[in-house]
């Protein structure tokens, strides 16, 4: 399995380098790091998924001495690794341009936020294809708008309220709760993807 993670790193080496370069340019023009972190993590983890999604790659990996459990698990591990690399790159960029360490809370929020996205993205991608990830996102967004418009017109306010409450928890508490929920979500998502992939036909 470690070989599968290593394979992901090697295959995406050029892509990663390129993305880091773009990231540094954006940081230089001072775009907020939370936004950058989430955007780049999403792009990279989606890309990480889609290279092995093609039929030929699935046939290759499944014919090599790996179990399907390992193939899925390696993707979840690689995703953590890729997000970690983004966080490191942002830290590096911050040191380079501002000569200060970036806000640790922000970095943690990037990591946690990105992993949440992965938790939702991967099972959808395994069940359908990564193409449907975008569709799902737009559908969810549409649903959200519909809810606001027709059912709970003050949903935004409610969310804002809840969010303020959450922010009042204090950073460390917030991270703790978010982290706990994330761990559970990530593991559930992982197990769900394994189940889906084991039944997959190609």
């Amino acid at each position: 399995m470690y070989q599968l993670v290593k394979k992901d790193l090697i295959i995406h080496k050029k892509m990663l380098m390129f993305m880091f370069l773009v990231l540094l340019i954006y940081m230089y023009i001072d775009i907020p790091i939370i936004f950058l972190g989430l955007l780049f993590s999403m792009t990279l983890t989606l890309n990480l998924f889609s290279t092995d999604e093609k039929r030929h790659a699935q046939m290759l990996l499944s014919s090599l001495p790996f179990t399907r459990k390992e193939i899925v698990s390696s993707k979840y591990i690689s995703a953590i690794l890729f997000i970690l690399l983004i966080v490191l790159a942002i830290t590096g960029g911050s040191l380079l341009f501002q000569q200060v360490l970036p806000n640790g809370f922000h970095l943690l929020m990037i990591a946690i936020g990105s992993l949440f996205v992965v938790s939702f993205m991967y099972p959808v991608a395994y069940k359908f294809t990564s193409k449907y990830v975008n569709i799902t996102f737009f559908t969810c967004f549409g649903l959200y708008l519909a809810i606001i418009m027709f059912f709970i017109p003050n949903l935004n306010d409610q969310i804002r309220e809840t969010f303020t409450k959450i922010m009042n928890l204090g950073e460390s508490q917030l991270i703790l709760y978010a982290g706990l929920i994330l761990v559970i979500t990530y593991i559930l998502s992982w197990l769900l993807s394994i189940r889906i992939y084991e039944k997959k036909v190609f």
């Binding site: 090697i10 046939m59 290759l60 014919s63 179990t67």
Partner: protein, 293 residues
């Protein structure tokens, strides 16, 4: 003799096609050709064999083990060559090898480079996506043969090869089975490949097993009969798998050589049936009952 592959009552249904009750065994140390027209289920059966598909019912065993509990052990000992490109196309062969090498415990670098040289493959200069079909097959073959696999499974390996390399390829297969420890199972619809190498034939039609024999028994069992239309009546027609009738006479395939030769004696012409004849007539026989025109 030890069985390396065992299919027992394997069923797998799709919307428009099904593998039905497939049962056969592949013997250790021999070359088995897997034949049938395109779309008769060969690729599906190979996928079932590689655990890329799971049967709806029945059992697939490789090296006497099932995939559920021993997937990794089994696949360590299999070398595979597919008809499609399966490698990451933006890599070179060298890079691809570097990815695959650590996966196999028995990888033999020296052997790999020997094959690369023998097949005249570019290691670092060209990306895999620029490889021709023949080169890609050779690359797959080099990788499949470099980890001392005990079972080589190939799906249409000769389809993209020129005649010269096809001969070399068959010689290579002869070399592989020299020690009697390795088993080769490959599908093909180019039946002339089989004459020089195949020990056993597994013949599939419409998802069903038509026969599994030593290759030479085909010539002993099957015969192509040619004669005048006056020889045919409802009784004699029963002896044939299918008959092609023209104004000039008939040509029919029978799987009961001794009997038809006794039946028609000197009145008919007899020819050794090739696998292609058998494929053709089995298909025709399945389509329209016994007689065709």
């Amino acid at each position: 003799m030890e069985s390396i592959i065992q299919f027992t009552n394997v069923n797998k249904a799709f919307n428009d096609f099904a593998i039905k009750n497939l049962t056969f065994e592949i013997k250790k140390g021999f070359v088995t050709g897997f034949v049938g027209a395109n779309g008769t289920g060969k690729s599906t059966a190979i996928k079932l064999l590689m655990n890329l598909l799971q049967p709806d019912s029945g059992e697939v065993k490789v090296f006497g083990l099932n995939y559920k509990d021993h997937e990794k052990v089994i696949k360590q000992k299999i070398g595979f060559v597919y008809d499609d490109h399966v490698f990451y196309e933006h890599l070179t062969l060298q890079e691809m090898k570097n990815l695959i090498q650590p996966v196999y415990t028995q990888w033999d670098d020296e052997l790999f480079y020997k094959y690369v040289e023998q097949f005249q493959l570019p290691l670092k200069k060209k990306k895999l996506k620029t490889f021709s079909k023949g080169m890609m097959m050779k690359a797959s073959l080099a990788i499949a043969l470099s980890h001392h696999a005990e079972l080589i499974i190939m799906d249409e390996p000769t389809a993209g090869l020129d005649p010269v390399f096809r001969r070399e390829f068959l010689n290579l297969l002869h070399e592989i089975v020299q020690d009697g420890e390795k088993t080769i199972f490959f599908s093909t619809h180019i039946t002339s490949d089989l004459d020089r190498i195949a020990d056993y034939i597994v013949f599939l039609h419409n998802g069903e097993l038509i026969f599994m024999h030593e290759f030479y028994t085909i010539a002993e069992k099957y015969v192509l009969v040619k004669g005048g239309l006056d020889l045919l009546d409802p009784d004699t027609e029963k002896e044939f798998i299918a008959i092609r009738k023209t104004k000039m006479g008939f040509e029919g395939l029978s799987s009961n050589k001794g009997r038809v030769m006794q039946l028609f004696g000197d009145l008919a012409l007899y020819e050794t049936a090739t696998l292609e004849d058998i494929m053709f007539y089995t298909k025709k026989g399945g389509e329209k009952g016994v007689s065709i025109s």
